[in-house]
């Protein structure tokens, strides 16, 4: 579905991403891991056409640059890491914008099925009670769920998620991972997500990319990438010892 070849992003003299290549197939859940500043979010930004890049990005067999904005949005959905609002739009207004790709431009009318998708997205994220509320009054986690709902209403086949469980409490973290796992079961879908928390990454991911300082350190099936040796090298610490230590806190 997504083929990325020699993706390079530079800001002036600074190389953020250096010749990164990977591909995503149907049914994949690709976890992008690595320390701060490894270039994880930049991969998402570049694919989302939000950062200047060299190299090639193919989406569903075509150069991603050859798509019109609304065509691209029907295939590719993005959840950003940071959101903040200046105006008091309602939760419903933000979610409904997710249907823009199907009714683009100034002359298209809303369609019957828009309602269905919006309703389903609201149900899946449990935002029903908040629909009429101003987004300025929401907590960070609630805002994250609003944009997740917008993304589900958009109904793309490939999701790019930048730390989807950022700001979420444990209940919603678990729920969100479960929801995405369900979403992925329909044919023709795939997910790429940037993660900090390596536990859920191993639990839910099918494959992984490990990045460090803009370079690809490892890629492949999740069990082969997130290994003790790889993680210790990239993070510069004994990752497994730390994880075991943290886990043991609950076994006393």
């Amino acid at each position: 579905m997504l083929k990325v070849k020699d993706l390079t992003v530079r800001y002036g003299d600074l190389t953020i991403l250096d010749q990164v290549s990977f591909h995503v197939e149907e049914g994949d859940w690709l976890m992008v891991a690595g320390p701060n500043g490894a270039g994880k979010s930049t991969i998402i930004n570049a694919v989302a056409q939000g950062a200047p890049y060299t190299g090639s990005i193919d989406l569903a067999g075509r150069d991603i640059r050859s798509y019109k904005a609304h065509e691209r949005a029907r295939l590719l959905g993005i959840l950003s890491q940071h959101h903040y609002f200046n105006y008091s739009f309602t939760v419903e207004e933000v979610i409904r914008l997710g249907r823009y790709a199907y009714t683009p431009g100034i002359f298209s009318r809303p369609r019957e099925e828009d309602e269905t998708y919006v309703r389903e997205a609201v149900e899946m994220t449990g935002l029903g009670p908040l629909l009429g509320q101003s987004v300025l009054t929401l907590s960070g986690g609630e805002i994250q769920r609003v944009f997740l709902a917008q993304l589900l209403a958009q109904n793309p086949s490939l999701l790019l998620l930048d730390e989807p469980t950022n700001h979420l409490d444990l209940v919603y973290q678990k729920q969100t991972f479960g929801l995405l796992k369900e979403w992925l079961k329909s044919p023709g879908r795939a997910i790429v997500s940037v993660v900090h928390d390596l536990g859920p990454a191993r639990a839910y991911g099918s494959r992984a990319l490990l990045l460090d300082k803009g370079r690809l350190e490892a890629r492949g099936p999740i069990q082969e990438v997130l290994t003790e040796e790889n993680l210790n090298r990239v993070y510069g610490m004994d990752v497994f010892a730390w994880m075991r230590d943290m886990l043991s806190q609950w076994q006393r």
Partner: protein, 346 residues
């Protein structure tokens, strides 16, 4: 989940139109010579349908030839500038954006002043040179300000962009004053270009404003949904499938034309585009499908009242209209800035 209508409902249109009409009638009837309201309405009505004009205390020409075109121009300018303010506030996600705070109006003034001082005209249309130069300079100003802002602070935070706007306005004003000082015989005095007035507007002026508003105001109204997405965030707008570059360019051109036309007719009338959308937003909420129509009416009402105040306050001396709007605008600016800071997004 029931679906709510996002746009204006008919009774809301009726309400706003009614308020606008009442303000309009009052504005025409009051002035240095007071014409009773019923007489004013009858006079306009009869003139409109070419009926014989009623007997009034004053000559009908005060109403028909002086006040009516002026108030019409004021109302249309108010509507146009408010719409521009609302559009820029959505596009830049910045509640303080306005032609005057960003320096776009000053830029347009500079264009007009250059056209007059250097005698740039179009052969067939006597007034067009000034107007085209004002529009061109308004657009260039927008480009310069945005380019600078993106360069200095990619997130386009409220403070950065306003700071650049203020500095740009001062820079442009200094050039303008320089030109006016050297060509004082040709160009209208500085106060007109810094504190505009619609004193002496003609039906022709009103017609040009109406035409610009119908075309370019219409374009802005048709982009309400896209501007909603921009107001939430430009990245989000791109993610949901909006051609952000095209929308940005279209809105910027429309805004430049409306501001350029307004400035070349009435000079810089500041802060209308800041005050009206802000007040309207408190009633309608931020959704541009409602905010835009309400801002059109609200802007017309606000500017007619400001113009009335400018005429009546020191009667028979008339204040420039821009003095009144800037007075109100500066206070509202501080208020919005304070609120924006409190929510932590400024």
């Amino acid at each position: 989940m029931h679906k709510r209508r996002e746009g204006f409902r008919p009774f809301e249109y009726l309400l706003f139109a009614g308020l606008t009409f009442v303000t309009f009638a009052v504005s025409v009837s009051l002035g240095s010579v007071r014409v009773p309201l019923p007489d004013t309405v009858t006079l306009i009505w009869n003139a409109l349908w070419r009926l014989p004009l009623p007997e009034t205390a004053v000559s009908p020409s005060i109403i028909l030839a002086v006040r009516l075109p002026r108030v019409l121009s004021v109302a249309l300018t108010g509507a146009a500038l408010s719409l521009c303010g609302g559009a820029m506030q959505g596009l830049l996600r910045n509640p303080l954006a306005d032609g005057s705070t960003l320096g776009v109006s000053s830029g347009a003034s500079l264009g007009a002043v250059i056209a007059i001082a250097f005698g740039i005209t179009m052969p067939s249309l006597p007034f067009a040179g000034t107007m085209v130069m004002a529009i061109l300079f308004a657009f260039l100003s927008l480009i310069i300000i945005l380019a600078l802002a993106y360069r200095l602070d990619y997130s386009l935070s409220t403070n950065t962009i306003i700071l650049i706007g203020v500095i740009y306005s001062m820079f442009v004003s200094s050039i303008m004053s320089f030109i006016i000082t050297y060509a004082s015989d040709r160009v209208r005095q500085i106060t007109f270009w810094t504190m505009g007035s619609l004193n002496g507007s003609s039906y022709g002026n009103a017609l040009i404003l109406l035409g610009a508003l119908l075309v370019f105001g219409g374009v802005i109204l048709l982009h309400a949904r896209e501007l909603n997405a921009f107001a939430i965030g430009e990245d989000n707008a791109r993610h949901i499938g909006i051609n952000t570059r095209r929308v940005k360019l279209t809105v910027m051109i429309s805004v430049s034309v409306l501001i350029g036309v307004s400035v070349s007719i009435g000079g810089t009338i500041g802060f209308v585009g800041l005050v009206t959308p802000h007040m309207v937003r408190m009633i309608t909420g931020p959704n541009h499908k409602k905010l835009f129509p309400a801002s059109l009416f609200g802007g017309a009402i606000f500017l007619m009242l400001a113009d009335l105040l400018a005429r009546m306050l020191l009667n028979p001396v008339e204040l420039p209209l821009g003095v009144v709007t800037s007075f109100v605008g500066a206070i509202v600016f501080v208020f919005i800035f304070h609120r924006a800071r409190k929510t932590g997004h400024a």
